[in-house]
Amino acid sequence: MVEAIMNGLSGLVAGFVHLHWSNPIMFVIGGVLLYLGIKKGYEPLLLVPIGFGCILVNIPLADLMGKEGFLRTIYDAGVMTELFPLLIFIGIGAMTDFTPLLQNPMTFMLGAAGQFGIFLTLALALLLGFPQLDAVSVGIIGACDGPTAIYVTSQFAPHLLGAVSVAAYSYMSLVPLIQPPIMRMLTTRKEREIRMSNEGLKPVSKTTKILFPIVMTIAGGMIAPMGLPLIGTIMLGNLMKESGAVARLTNASQNEIANIVTLLLGISIGATMDGRMFLKGQTLIILALGFLAICLDTVCGVLFGKLMNLMSGGKFNPLIGAAGISAFPMSARVVQREGQKWNKKNHLLMHAMGANAGGQVGSVMAAAVMLSILRGMGII
């Protein structure tokens, strides 16, 4: 009888007995993510489920990522199949207005320059000894685009998914803090004060807006077929929005589908943050490289902006180059705010929105180009 009671009691304390040293640390990390999401408002839609998923998976014996665990089921169904990031892309496409980009197609080039951090970080990761496909996944943090980072990492380095996606989403939310010092460092006061008018921006016809996603899908898919799922889904969402013919599907993509998938994606990512796998020196290196990737994106974007300034005879404000990343529309707002700090009458928002929309497509295209190169080299 006493033995039975003792056995019963031991069942109640088993969780404490099996607690690994890394688990309490991960509770704290999960708590920090929850704090950033709830209290600071940094990407709460993702950081809250990620933080909670992180806590869930670190409770011993529950085995939520085991063969029968519910987190494993969600992870296998949506992340391993790459379905979740693609569904999110349909929502992003349905929410994005490419009009500022169509009004000034040259800003697309800033969206290309804003992706250079991907390739530079990849090279650095290789120098630090990461295996090739791991380096690709680390570099992709520089896309500054969560779903793209998850899409690529889940294919080539699923063991890095937790670190890569946490880095991608955390730094994306920190763009307003990361970018301004770099923008100031690389530009002169005179350059920052350059006023840009919106007068030259022509209105865009509905036909062009409808044809844009179709033509981009065909052109992008032909050049980089390996990235077609990424390009195709974002453009499908945009076509639904611009056509106005499927308002119900557009609304569902912007709201219900995006919300449900965001929740499931977030909790799945959190579930990859098992302390025994996550708390390694490598994770810290990935977080540092991810930070560097986003800094390099901004550096390359602003430097390209300076080149455009030179080519335009000093009429182009190089701050706009910083918006060539995928953090939409956060980065464009940072440029607008920074521009106004130096010249109260300056309204860079529409131009920055063009570069930012270019960065959105640019990040997807950069990932697509990279996948196609890897396929071409026989690496994948």
């Binding site: 697309f108 990849l122 981009m216 950069a366 690496i379």
Partner: protein, 48 residues
């Protein structure tokens, strides 16, 4: 899977990746410019 040394891999991805991205987006910007020219904005069409 083909084995390639890290240096060759890194330099190739760096050059072809950056060049490929910029070339692709340049082509896309040309297509967009063309679309804007072929289908210019007409006020009466937008209100249909």
């Amino acid at each position: 899977m083909q084995q390639m040394d890290n240096f060759t891999f890194g330099v190739t991805v760096l050059i072809v990746g950056m060049g490929g991205t910029i070339l692709t987006l340049w082509i896309m910007s040309l297509i967009m410019t063309l679309l804007m020219k072929v289908f210019p904005y007409k006020e009466e069409e937008q209100s249909k």
